[in-house]
Amino acid sequence: MSARTVREKLVAGALAVVVHVGLLAILLVSLDWKAPAIDAGGEAAPIEAVVVDETRVAAEIERIREQERTVKEAERERVEKLAREAEEATQQRLDEQRRLADLQRQLAEARLQHEAELRNREQLEAERLAELKQRQEEQAAQVEQLRVRERQLEAERQAEETRLREAAEQRQREAERQRVAREERERLEAEQQRLEAEKQRAEADRARIEEERRVAEERARRADEERKVAEEEKRRAEAERQQAEAQRRQAEAEKQRVDAERAKAEAERQRAEAERERIERERRAAEEQKRIAEQERQRIEEQKRVAEEQKRKLEEERRVADEKRREAEKARQRAEDERQRKEAELALQEALAAEQRELDKARSDLRGRQLAEYVGQIKASVQRNWKRPPSSARGLKCTVLVVQLPGGEVAKVEVVESSGNRLFDRSVQEAIFRSSPLPLPRDPSLFSREIQFEFDPRD
């Protein structure tokens, strides 16, 4: 605290010095400005304007010096005062420090004393607590004894109560038992009386039922007899009815028999009449038959006559036809002879021509076989070297014209017809180049400087 105060005071002093110096400077400057203003009235050259009153200047200088002295004096006094104050402050600070030290010592002592007191109090407290605890334990023991005593009393009281309750219950049970026995006895007596009455009533019932059964049997027996009489009567009536029926049926049969005989006689009469008519019809039919047979005989006679006439005519015709056939056969024979002669002539000519052809073919076959072999070798080589791009569309075709050197080296490959797919076209050209040099034919005259290739994959 005191150090800070001193520093603040020093700073204040320094500030004061600065302010004073500043004021002095302002004064000096203002003097500087004022000096030319005095001679500002003259229009002459600046160098001639430096004419001044020496005494005024001396007085002015004196005045300034006086001022400076005053200021310096004041400053010195102030500094001295500051130094004094600083010294005082230092003294105060030292006093303060001493006071603080004293205070701290006092505080330390007080703390020690306080701590001792605290320790003392703690001990007392501990003793008090121990005492309290002991008292509490004693009280607890007493409470426990009281509690045990209470429990004993309670147990005794409960035992007494139980005993009293059991005695009362015993008494009650005895009374109950006696009441039950009495009731049972009464109930048994009543039951016995009831059973007796029941028996008597049952006896009466049995007698009554026996009587009723007897009456019913009598009634049944009588009813049976009546039924038998009725059945006998019914049987008799049935026999009579059957007899009457038999008589009626006999009469009916008799009537039917008479009717049948009458019908038979009528039928006999009708049959005789029909027989007569049939005989008459047959007689007429026989006569008609005879007449028709006569006519037929005449017709056959006539036919026989006509047929003989025709036979004669046919024989004549056959004779004429035979004559004609013999003449035709002779003509055909002559024609056949002529045809065979011509065929023989033709066969001879054909044989001669075939021989000629055979000769021609043999000549060209050799060339053909050699050409086929040449083409086959080139084809195999190119096919072996053709790597078709995968996933190229189906149906791509490319035709190239290849120019080869006499040794088979490929000199030029030109696309004549593009597939439209650049990669496919490239693969075709590469196949040709990779096959260079192309195989040569056995017969050099078969060498073809230019070959056209049609690349047309099958799948």
């Binding site: 078709r388 791009p389 050209q429 196949a431 230019e450 099958r458």
Partner: protein, 445 residues
Amino acid sequence: MLRSKMNAAVLALVCALGIAAMPGPARAVLTIRITESTEAALPIAIVPFGFAGGAAGARAPENIGQIVADDLARTGRFDPIAFPDLPSRPSSVADVNFGDWRILGTANLVIGRVEARGPEQYAITFRLFDVFRATQLAGFEIVATTRDLRRTAHQISDIVYETLTGERGAFDTRVAYVTEGRDANGERRYALQVADSDGANPFPVLDSVQPILSPSWSPDGARLAYVSYEAGRPQVYVQELATGRRDAVAAFPGTNGAPAFSPDGSRLALTLSKDGNHEIYVLDLAGRRLRRITDDPAIDTEPAWSPDGASIVFTSDRGGKPQIYQVPASGGEARRMTFVASDDYNARASFSPDGRRLAFVHGVGGRFRIAVLDLETSAVNVLTDTRLDESPSFAPNGTMILYATVSGGSSVLAAVSTDGRMRQQLAATEGKAREPAWSPFRSRR
């Protein structure tokens, strides 16, 4: 072409006259028909690129020759010769001896050189030769920074591929996919990654502790639409790749899922359940107007646009099991498209860029494979023989299909040629990689 035809005609005439002078019947030029071949990839020799400049003993930061060889091999159409089997390793025209390569039977040769031009600055020159004709088919010089060297390699692959096949290459493209892994504290983390078409240079464009699903490229390749669960439920976002700026474009109650950009980039087809059931909607991105496309009590999801923008295909279980249906993009009657004999499960369709084929996941007996339906012939061709393949998408040139599959207990990215002949896993990523989507073509540099 016309000139070559005329030449052929003249030649044929001369030949015919020549042969006519010989005895025997007159013949035209000797013609040989070639019908047999082996189907095989075209052999090509790619020489490791030379390196010049830089400090003594310095090496090129990337093996460009290897990247080009791998790119071409992955298509199944080219068969690059293994480096140890190369007869020589020229890096300039003067060093090429065509005879060596003719003996090898290789028609095509690629050589190149990387030259250090300054810090992180390289000039890459390469040439493609026709070995048999000893002519140069293509040659370029490309300047690139270290960071762009791989991309330059893919661009070289594109040039070689296009020169030899006549089709545009799709190597200088990107793939987007989702990875799932755990961070240092064992926390599950999801990331939306964008990598080169070969899986190299993966770069996370979004990182989240919640699942991310179904990335879909905008047709200009500048934006990705995807599903994120970061709000506690699935919502659809569109993110600009250059700036990272993102917008939740669909945050309706219920599911917001399976976004797909329309071919003109102005709309998104997506699945919403805001009206109580999963249906297909089309969202106009400028006006944020919604149009409902399907209306069926079954689940309709996974929409994909036809390249002409006229129709949308989607997955629906309205027939009992998931099958693929097609509906006009303005809504209307849905028509079932998949009638595979086994009829088990067909889902997640996407169109080929020419609109003539449909790739989809075909499930039979618990095995899910990638299949292609030819829309003209209705023929179905199953391309893969793995077990849990998902999320097929065509390369922008239609020659390959990117998908995710399970290998070695983890989910990885793989590509298959559309004829199913060539299958290859992409560069390995950390954690599981799922839901890949192949980007559109990038504008050529």
